[in-house]
């Protein structure tokens, strides 16, 4: 059976002015369904580029990236949007909630673009908010929530579509220690109990420690790739 993510000699080259910048240089990577992976690296290492590509926000210049067996490099922008909507959940460092819009409506957003009925959207979003411990805060606006709570709304928004892949880009970067731990515990639980594949970008070692596999990127290539925990990672969950 195919792996969830297969990167095969992936290059990403930007043109900045007259200079070609090689953000990814022949990177190959395989991630199975149900893994919890931390990607680390200094700024400029190419980890953001890799995340954007894995999240189908970007496409490789050269090489192959297959998500669930689909060649992402061949898709149109609208097809990419469809894949993001169906299969991927994003959690950003700066939460990126839509301002002056309630927690429930923020969590509804992906379902809104899926064309579900308003009733279904509300029910699923409320359920997702419940899963991240925000039951009863559906009508709160982002400004009425703490940083940790805002990030939980963002996680609910990522979860609401039942994605196969959850991408978290420095999810604790703007949070205090206690909130960071709460967020990481939620992610850990989602991975362990629901088998959601999580890829986490961080530069904090204690955050990366929640993951079972740690990949270090440098100069657009993989510097190291090691398992940090034994566990259910090698046995695919859910078939």
């Amino acid at each position: 059976m195919a792996s969830l993510i297969e990167c095969d000699d992936v290059w990403k080259i930007y043109r900045v002015g007259d200079v070609d910048v090689q953000a990814l240089r022949g990177l190959s990577l395989t991630i199975e369904q149900g893994e919890f992976v931390a990607i680390m690296g200094s700024s400029g290492s190419g980890k953001s580029t890799l995340m954007n590509m894995l999240g189908c926000l970007d496409q490789p210049t050269k090489g192959h990236y297959r998500l669930n067996g689909v060649e992402v490099g061949l898709l149109t922008p609208d097809e990419l949007a469809g894949i993001r909507n169906q299969q991927i959940g994003f959690v950003f460092q700066s939460f990126n909630l839509i301002p002056r819009t309630s927690a429930l409506e923020n969590a509804q957003l992906p379902l809104f673009y899926r064309g579900l009925s308003l009733k279904e959207q509300r029910a699923k979003a409320a359920e997702a908010l419940g899963r991240v411990g925000l039951h009863g805060r559906e009508d709160h606006y982002p400004t009425q929530l703490s940083g940790g709570q805002q990030q939980r709304v963002a996680i609910a928004r990522a979860l609401v579509t039942s994605p196969s892949l959850l991408l978290a880009d420095e999810p604790t970067g703007n949070l205090d220690t206690q909130s960071s731990q709460e967020i990481m515990r939620i992610l850990e639980t989602l991975n362990r109990d629901e088998g959601i594949t999580i890829i986490l970008v961080t530069h904090e070692v204690d955050v990366a420690a929640y993951a079972a596999r740690e990949i270090v990127i440098k100069d657009g290539q993989i510097l190291s790739d090691r398992k940090t925990k034994a566990g259910p990672i090698s046995s695919p969950v859910g078939g």
Partner: protein, 411 residues
């Protein structure tokens, strides 16, 4: 899809509600444009209706024939100064041209009319009985004179509303009274229903009709018996007017023995011709209105486009998030288009309300007749929708073309 559109409209309304001042100022162009058009079209329609009513007072499907002008040593007289048209011309026309239902004729002069100790200078018209039917004169009391009155040159008169007001006491019954014109006593046998102003602005009710023969022999003292100042004809159908006019021209040219190189010694005007002059005026007005409407809608549209471009920039990050969670291009396009159309539609509706109020106020204050047509309201509504659509397209496309990665990073 229905859920999507509905939610997008609700979102648009909420965003506009949040920036009420900004939304209001943005809509102002559309509001003023639509209001101006509605108010001016209503006033224009009112004026047009009034003019049409005036033209209708001429009668139904009327042709008027004036004699040509005299020309002595190159000095030309006024319209109708020649004596080229005669009663026999009129009778001949009726006989020769089947299209003409009837023909009538008239001569007129301004003279003093005396009743009791009052006097008044009014227009005395010597007319054939047919003239009264062609011009659609009706009576508030009494009735018209007849062919017998014409044949016997009876001293009977029909008086207009203005004459009644100036010669008679209020409430006094003119029918049966004896008035004097140039010292000749006339018995009033009918009071004419008022017609108001003519399309040239003269008072059509300042008039007395007496039989043509009586006028010729006893009042005007004409040297050329049988010559008329104007002839009138009428047809059954409006469409027959041009054909009838052409036939009249042929018959008259033959009767007057005009050679092909000679000009007509008469002028023919149909009611359609006169209406056309008025139509030309209102067409000019319509064109001007159209220009004003276009300019103000253009300005309003540019205002909407401007504010949407600002909005796209302000909400770049939001657009990025929406794209990240799966918004396709058309979702983003729709969102901003619906916002633009909401702005222009609300503006349009406000403009319609303001315009209708303005028209009503004009009637109330200035007393001008106004007609508010449903068409104009529907068209205004439609146009504000189109303006929103058109000027929303560019910002909406700009938003949809954003790169999600850059949009997410936008500060």
């Amino acid at each position: 899809m229905a859920a999507f559109v509905w939610l997008t409209i609700m979102t648009a309304l909420r965003i506009l509600g949040r920036n009420r001042m900004r939304a209001g100022l943005t809509m102002l162009g559309i509001v003023i444009g639509v209001a101006a058009v509605i108010a001016m079209v209503s006033i224009g329609e009112g004026a047009k209706r009034a003019v049409q009513a005036q033209i209708a007072t001429m009668g139904t499907n009327v042709i008027i024939i004036f004699p040509g002008v005299t020309s002595a040593s190159g000095v030309r007289g006024s319209q109708g100064s020649a004596i080229t048209l005669t009663v026999s011309d009129a009778l001949e026309l009726k006989k020769r041209i089947p299209l003409l239902v009837d023909t009538g004729w008239s001569r007129r002069d301004v003279m003093q009319i005396v009743y009791g100790n009052r006097n008044w200078n009014g227009t005395i018209n010597g007319v054939s009985p047919s003239y009264l039917t062609i011009r659609d004169w009706s009576f508030t009391s009494g009735g018209p004179f007849t062919q017998t009155d014409l044949d016997s040159a009876a001293r009977v008169a029909l008086v207009g509303h203005t004459i009644v007001e100036n010669l008679f006491e209020p409430g006094e019954e003119p029918v049966g009274a004896v008035i004097r014109i140039k010292n000749v006593p006339f018995r009033v046998i009918g009071v004419l229903a008022p017609k108001g102003q003519s399309s040239q602005g003269s008072d059509q009710d300042d008039v007395i009709f007496i039989p043509f023969s009586t006028a010729e022999r006893k009042v005007f003292g004409t040297s050329f018996i049988g010559s008329v100042a104007a002839m009138f004809g009428s047809t059954d159908q409006v469409d027959d007017l041009p054909m009838a006019a052409e036939q009249i021209r042929e018959v008259l040219r033959a009767r007057h023995r005009l050679q092909s190189e000679q000009n007509d010694d008469f002028t023919i005007r149909t009611q359609v011709d006169i209406g056309k002059v008025q139509e030309g005026t209102s067409e000019t007005l319509t064109m001007m209105l159209f220009a004003i409407a276009s300019v103000s809608l253009l300005v309003g549209g540019i205002g909407i486009m401007n504010i949407l471009l600002v909005s796209v920039t302000e909400r770049t990050r939001e657009i990025g998030v929406r794209m990240a969670v799966g918004a396709k291009r058309y979702h983003i396009v729709m969102q901003f288009l619906i916002e633009a159309m909401t702005l222009s539609l609300v503006g349009g509706v406000l403009g319609i309300v303001l315009g209708v109020a303005g028209a009503k106020l004009t009637t109330l204050i200035a007393g001008w007749p106004t007609i508010i047509s449903g068409n104009v309201i529907v068209i205004s509504f439609f146009f504000s929708l189109v303006v929103g659509l058109f000027f929303g397209l560019y910002p909406a496309n700009k938003a949809a073309r954003l790169n999600p990665i850059e949009a997410l990073r936008y500060e």
